[in-house]
């Protein structure tokens, strides 16, 4: 990615360097996000960043210079719903992890997608609870040993993007930190959507996850992403067996349902008029 001084406009430089471990995918997501902001020309005064607890919650907070609400573990989408209702014209962006948004906060994720609240959710899925030292996550593949599944994870992982699609989101995509340009383009599309938009970003956590699956360096995991991703357009040609263990990338859904705050405001406008005239 070409160096671009404009992106510093979105960054609280005094806080750098970041606390991310060497080789962590969080830096890539941050990089993609600010380059996208710059490309689209989004005024940082129009951004409200909401986040939770976990490594990827540090992407917006405090490294990005914009209004930032760093909330409790698992709850950023609930907080962001309140923000969006009061500020429907702002870009309310949630950047947080799989443990946060899909684990402890899974209920809010599902319901915000169902309501089609106009939030932009960039969910960084690193397959693990990284910050707390590598405990099993709802996204950890079956069989992987973690600090709390020393004999291998007995559970199947959660397919976040599909759940959010089924719940009713307007825009859902999945990319990896290997596919930076596609990811940026997808972020741009998400920013332009009115309804609930989510990008599941498969990301590397070399320290707490990679080493458990023998992908010790960040670059090992990027190679893994490159070699194991299947564009959604090609999935039709593959058998279930061929698809097993693969990461399906691309846009899962792009539709236009009525956005929640728009419906809410239509009701308020109608009531105010009726009460005003009665």
């Amino acid at each position: 990615m070409a160096a671009n001084n404009n992106i510093l406009n979105y960054i609280r430089e005094e806080i750098f360097p970041t606390a991310f471990c060497p080789g962590c995918g969080c830096g890539t997501v941050l990089n993609c996000f600010v380059h996208m902001l710059d490309k689209v020309g989004i005024d940082k005064r129009d951004l409200i960043l909401v986040t939770g607890i976990g490594c990827s919650s540090w992407i917006p907070s405090p490294y990005l210079e914009a209004d930032t609400l760093h909330t409790t573990h698992g709850r950023p989408i609930a907080f962001a719903t309140g923000v969006k209702v009061m500020k429907p014209d702002k870009y309310v962006v949630v950047i947080a992890g799989d443990g946060d948004l899909a684990g402890i906060g899974g209920n809010h994720l599902m319901h915000a997608a169902r309501r089609n609240v106009g939030l932009k959710v960039f969910l960084v899925n690193n397959y693990i609870y990284g910050m707390t030292g590598g405990q099993v996550a709802p996204t950890t593949p079956t069989g992987v040993p973690t600090t709390t599944t020393p004999y291998g994870n007995p559970e199947p992982p959660m397919n976040i993007a599909e759940i959010v699609t089924a719940a009713g989101a307007d825009y859902v995509a999945r990319w990896t930190t290997y596919h930076v340009r596609k990811l940026m383009h997808s972020m741009e599309q998400a920013m332009k959507k009115k309804g609930f938009s989510l990008i599941e970003i498969m990301s590397q956590c070399p320290v707490s996850y990679g080493k458990r699956v023998k992908l010790k360096k960040g670059s090992d995991m990027l190679r893994y992403f490159r070699d194991n991703s299947v564009p959604i357009q090609k999935t039709g040609d593959l058998t279930e067996e061929e698809l097993s263990g693969k990461i399906v990338i691309g846009k899962l859904v792009d539709r236009e349902r009525t956005e929640f705050t728009a419906t809410l405001n239509a009701i308020v406008e109608k009531r105010e008029k009726e009460v005003g005239t009665s």
Binding site: I48, D67, T68, R75, T81, G82, H111
Partner: protein, 364 residues
């Protein structure tokens, strides 16, 4: 008018324009009333997926400019505690109505209790100070809820209104105050030379969406809002300030009602639903020439300790009708030397006047 509905109207008088809640007996009528009324005045009423989301949405909305409230009962109040802690830590003005019901757990879902007095005080982890009001009539459900919004804004703190299943469902006469009689305390907003989280005892708010790049976090933070979780000094300064800002204003916050205290030898101290039969028993005792007085607390937290201490010096005994196993009487004991007797009743049935009277008779 019903107590719950009066709370809803109190919120409107207090300038509420955002409510988020989750259905729970005996508090649901508050949400139902606000879902009718809020859109009429340009406000929003949301039913969220649970109580955690409800208080979360309220806090988010408040930072985005709203005067926000949620309402719940015991189990929901328990679920909200983590985010109430967040509201303390981030000094978010918001109102939480807890229509207490008999617990723990599902307990007696529809029946009243006063078992959340200590949960209101200490429900969330860490040191913090709270403001909790306690209405005893339907009228007070309105006035104290309106008051709660002003206190929340003035002190930049969450404020809890502790009612209960009986007051919440009680129907009695109430008059709507003239809106001009209820003064609204507006939010103090900061300017560029100020900080959102320090610099003065109660700093001004910096709302989201105004281009001030405010950084709000529940982690320990500096005056600027920037996270700093390793400095003993930063944490100490922050926590002591948000603790002290309520503590030093205790006298201003005290709301009590005194009856027959001048020559009283025995004092009754009570609040909320339990204060109603208490008043009946005190009146009867006075009619019969017994020297009893009555202090009714309309605020629970911060605890009116000076008032209590003064009464403790004056009377021989303090009797405390309470619908719990001593949550109020034990707090009173901390500030007095005289004997404190709990007239405790649990099980979802409020005290009868005769029950309280017989204890008064015994001690006078």
């Amino acid at each position: 008018m019903q107590g719950d509905t009066a709370c809803a109207y109190g919120a409107l008088y207090g300038g509420c324009n955002f409510f988020a809640g989750y259905p729970i007996t005996p508090a649901s009528e508050i949400a139902e009333s606000l879902s009718i009324e809020l859109p009429n005045v340009g406000g929003y009423c949301l039913q969220m997926e649970d109580e955690i989301a409800s208080i979360g949405a309220v806090i988010g909305a408040v930072w985005a400019g709203a005067r926000g409230m949620t309402a719940t009962s015991g189990p929901g109040f328990s679920l909200m505690q983590e985010n109430i802690g967040y509201a303390f830590m981030t000094e978010t003005p918001c109102v939480i109505i807890d229509v207490q019901r008999s617990g723990p757990s599902t307990g007696q879902a529809t029946l009243p209790a006063q078992g959340d007095i200590m949960q209101a005080r200490w429900g969330t982890h860490g040191d913090h100070q709270i403001i909790a009001l306690s209405p005893a009539t339907v009228q007070e459900c309105l006035t104290l809820t309106a008051d709660a919004f002003n206190l929340a804004e003035r002190y930049r703190n969450p404020v809890i209104v502790l009612t209960d299943g009986e007051i919440g469902h009680l129907r009695e006469k109430m008059t709507f105050p003239d809106p001009s009689d209820i003064e609204l305390v507006n939010r103090r907003l900061g300017s560029s030379n100020q900080h959102a989280f320090g610099g003065e005892m109660i700093p001004p708010m910096f709302e989201l969406g105004h281009g001030s790049f405010v950084h709000v976090t529940g982690s320990s933070h500096k005056e600027t809002g920037m996270r700093d979780v390793f400095s003993q000094e930063v944490h100490d300064t922050l926590i002591r300030r948000i603790y002290t800002k309520i503590d030093v204003n205790r006298d201003k916050l005290v709301r009590v009602e005194e009856h027959f205290m001048d020559d009283a030898e025995v004092a009754l101290v009570s609040l909320g639903v339990a204060s109603r039969p208490t008043m009946g028993a005190v009146l009867e005792a006075r009619n019969n020439g017994l020297k009893v007085g009555f202090l009714r607390l309309m605020i629970v937290w911060p605890f009116p300790k000076k008032k209590i201490a003064a009464i403790g010096k004056k009377v021989k005994k303090i009797l405390v009708p309470e619908m719990n196993l001593g949550q109020l009487s034990r707090e009173i004991e901390r500030f007095v030397d005289c004997e404190v007797v709990s007239i405790s009743k649990v099980g979802g049935v409020s005290h009868r006047v005769s029950e309280i009277y017989s204890v008064i008779e015994h001690y006078t």
